[in-house]
């Protein structure tokens, strides 16, 4: 079980699912019947990346609460790496979303609810990095970062539900409660890509946690060696 959850095994699983999802999306799932046509294929990675980015911020939110309850710095490390990877995925969402927007609406950007709230998420979590960089003492930095991560997370459900509560926006709502809004071949391709992205998120978090632990070990050893 431990071997199955190791970073290399998770990366391999993610790679297999992502390649399978891509192949199914291009060779099995039909082209969208709407005006988007072939460019709708962007959806099979764009939507899973967006959901996994929000999931990463959810992990950071849970880690922030755990840190404030226990004052254990391992939760601060988990929050830090989750936000780092969440931001990486968010940047990908913004870039692929702009390409999607150009294909669907003939505009790289539109100030509509989903896009605007997602951009706000990116700015909020970018500010998290600024906050971390200005506080030196470990426990104080972790406390401020945890409080900020909890406040920033307020925008995550707003982003997720923006298209549902404000349907006049341009961004489509594909999946709704009780209705996937897709043909079965599209849904299977989407779910396999979603699984791949989730495994990739877990693998990247594991590896980045290892990096943070090694950095701490280097700092401790340097301190014990007197410089």
């Amino acid at each position: 079980m431990k071997k199955l959850l190791s970073a290399p095994a998770l990366f391999a699983g993610a790679g297999i699912c992502l390649i399978a999802g891509l192949l199914l999306a291009f060779w099995w799932a039909p082209a969208d019947a709407s005006s988007m046509g072939f460019s709708q294929k962007i959806f099979y990675y764009h939507a899973p990346i967006a959901e996994v980015a929000l999931l990463a911020f959810g992990v950071a939110f849970a880690a922030a609460i755990a840190y404030l309850r226990t004052q254990n710095l391992k939760w601060d490390r988990l929050g830090l790496v989750s936000i780092r990877i969440g931001l990486l995925f968010s940047i990908l969402v913004m870039l692929t979303g702009m390409i999607w927007g150009k294909a669907a609406w003939d505009a790289w950007w539109a100030w509509e609810p989903r896009l605007t709230t997602f951009l706000l998420v990116c700015f909020l979590y970018a500010a998290y990095w600024v906050l971390r960089s200005v506080v030196d003492e470990d426990q104080r930095r972790a406390t401020y970062a945890a409080v900020f991560a909890i406040i920033a997370f307020i925008d995550v459900p707003i982003t997720f539900f923006a298209t549902r509560f404000l349907p006049e926006g341009l961004h489509p709502v594909v999946i709704q409660a009780g209705d996937s809004g897709m043909e079965s071949s599209m849904l299977v391709s989407f779910l396999i890509s979603m699984l791949g992205m989730t495994l990739l998120l877990v693998a990247l978090i594991r590896r980045d946690l290892e990096i943070e632990e090694l950095k701490d070990r280097v700092t401790d050893l340097k301190t014990s060696l007197g410089g």
């Binding site: 990366f11 891509l22 005006s35 988007m36 046509g37 072939f38 460019s39 294929k41 962007i42 990675y45 764009h46 990346i49 990486l88 940047i91 990908l92 870039l95 692929t96 390409i99 999607w100 150009k102 294909a103 990739l200 990247l204 590896r207 980045d208 290892e210 990096i211 090694l214 950095k215 070990r217 280097v218 050893l221 340097k222 014990s224 060696l225």
Partner: protein
């Protein structure tokens, strides 16, 4: 929208995703290796410094 136009957008989107993810994967792998090397070097140095002190204690 024509298929040719659609292909252009789809290819750009997937190229960006794959490039960013692959670059991040290799950067983090390199970082882990470099840090593991640093830890090994520092641990060797710590052992080396402890050894004469231990020997001095025995003598």
């Amino acid at each position: 929208m024509s298929i040719e136009e659609g292909v252009k957008y789809v290819a750009s989107a997937y190229a960006i995703i794959l490039a960013v993810l692959i670059i991040y994967y290799f950067m983090s792998a390199r970082r882990v290796s470099a840090l593991q090397r640093d830890v090994a070097l520092l641990e060797d140095e710590a052992k080396r410094r402890q050894a004469p002190a231990g020997q001095a204690g025995v003598e």
